[in-house]
């Protein structure tokens, strides 16, 4: 097994699987978030469920965090390996002639998304952890919607979020479809899968950006 994980192909599969897992999480996250625009009460109840269900809290949440860590740590390892594989750099390298920009710069779109995650964790997750496990405040199933909307009051945060979703979109544009190739799927269904992944990688980040902007433009006034 240790031999397997050292091989280039196995590492790619790890990237693909962890990436796909994160895509699934992203979808679920989006579904919950969009309710904050449609129906704040549903949003509150779903968020409360996610925050206090022991299965989600103590099993799924650690898996998710592990998934994120594996994806970016492996990404870094591969990036370093790949940089080394060139040896001496070209004086002139015309990467744009044969491969799209997004595919060649996954590390940068990934880094931006990672930086965003740090902010995002600080904004919501750290807050939640402090609320529940440091300050031991009482359960309040109605607080989530307001807390969320308030976060998007500052213009700078909203913009940071929107920009990050843009980079996320680029990252997904190459990464989502590419994960199928990494796992060996390239057949007659591939073009359909590819189309789906491209639509997904535009629609979902766009949706997230919409939610952020919506809350910024519709602050709670009372």
């Amino acid at each position: 097994m240790s031999g397997l994980i050292k091989s280039s192909i196995a590492r790619k599969v790890v990237m693909a699987l962890s990436g796909l897992f994160l895509v699934v999480f992203l979808t679920q996250h989006f579904v919950i978030n969009i309710t904050s625009v449609i129906d704040p009460e549903t949003f509150n109840s779903w968020s409360h469920f996610m925050g206090y269900n022991p299965l989600v809290q103590f099993i799924l949440q650690p898996i998710l965090i592990a998934g994120v860590i594996i994806h970016f740590v492996m990404g870094f390892i591969l990036e370093i390996q790949n940089k080394n594989a060139r040896g001496v750099n070209y004086v002139k390298y015309k990467g744009g002639a044969n491969a799209p920009w997004v595919s060649r710069n996954m590390i940068y779109s990934g880094l931006v998304v990672l930086a965003f995650l740090v902010l995002h964790f600080y904004d919501f997750w750290v807050h939640e952890m402090a609320y529940k496990y440091v300050n031991f405040l009482p359960e309040d199933p109605t607080r989530y919607h307001e807390e969320t909307v308030v976060k998007f009051a500052p213009f700078w945060r909203t913009i940071l979020y929107v920009v990050s979703f843009g980079l996320l979109s680029l990252h997904l544009w190459h990464g989502f479809s590419s994960s199928f190739q990494s796992m060996g799927l390239n057949n007659k269904y591939s073009s359909a899968i590819k189309t789906f992944t491209k639509i997904f990688s535009v629609v979902i980040p766009l949706g997230f950006a919409f939610i952020a902007l919506y809350h910024h433009l519709n602050p709670i006034t009372h």
Partner: protein
């Protein structure tokens, strides 16, 4: 036409190299790129300078000897050809052309534009064959009918000429397209099934040992491949590798 050439010169494997500028006049469109370099070399020799060394042999695009990164692309700007088939009509009077060796840690420079691609040989030696004796005591060729589609797909994979353009083009200097072409050829044929699991594992292990980078599916290799070897082969190799690993 008149051209400004920027060519990588390096005395030997251990020396430091650098780009040297040359101006070449009287280049014609009907010349091949290598014939253009021949003329430059004639000039250099007549001046008593050492000519620019580059690998080449068949000069008809099949042996895979010629290489060259031309203006940032392996085998130059044209598609589905090798450097020896690139003609000067693709360039204009006054153009500057940067000529470098294929770059990869697994392709160390030997001299000037010549690189050592023996890492490719070692990948093939690790398993790029079917273990039949060459004594001729085999079954009749038509005793193994092969579906035309499979035979054609195997042939498409088998047309790889081992030039290394895939590695040179890849931002990661990955040799996946090269390795997968051979794995695919045998994976598609019934004769190749018996050793399929060992073959893919051994070849991938050797590929990794040589210091090639990882595949990040940018597709640059497929675009630059002079023989149009498809990315499908990489997917097939990934599949073969995974199933071989799962089986243990």
């Amino acid at each position: 036409m008149k051209l400004y050439l920027k060519i990588w010169r390096q005395k030997d494997a251990n020396a430091n190299g650098q780009i040297v500028d040359y101006t070449l006049d009287g280049v014609e469109g009907d010349m091949s790129f290598l014939e253009m370099l021949d003329i430059l070399n004639e000039e250099l020799v007549s001046k008593g300078e050492e000519p620019v060394e580059f690998d080449h042999d068949c000069r008809e695009g099949i042996c895979g000897t010629c290489s060259l990164q031309i203006n940032g692309e392996p085998h130059g700007p044209d598609r589905l050809i090798t450097t020896c088939q690139l003609h000067m009509r693709k360039f204009n009077d006054g153009d500057t052309i940067v000529i470098e060796p294929f770059r990869a840690k697994a392709f160390p420079v030997i001299k000037d534009l010549i690189v050592d691609r023996s890492s490719f040989d070692r990948i093939q030696q690790a398993g790029g064959y079917i273990s039949v004796n060459t004594s001729g005591n085999t079954v009749d060729a038509n005793a193994i009918p092969i579906e035309k589609h499979a035979a054609d797909a195997a042939m498409d994979a088998a047309t790889c000429i081992g030039c290394g353009a895939c590695v040179a083009a890849c931002k990661n200097a990955s040799a996946m397209l090269f390795t997968s072409a051979k794995v695919s050829q045998f994976a598609l044929l019934p004769q190749g099934q018996v050793e399929a699991a060992d073959r893919v594992q051994n070849m991938v292990r050797q590929m990794d040992l040589e210091g090639f980078g990882n595949c990040t599916n940018t597709g640059a290799c497929e675009v630059e491949c002079p023989k149009g070897i498809s990315l499908e082969n990489i997917a097939r190799m990934n599949r073969e590798y995974l199933s071989a690993s799962v089986k243990g």
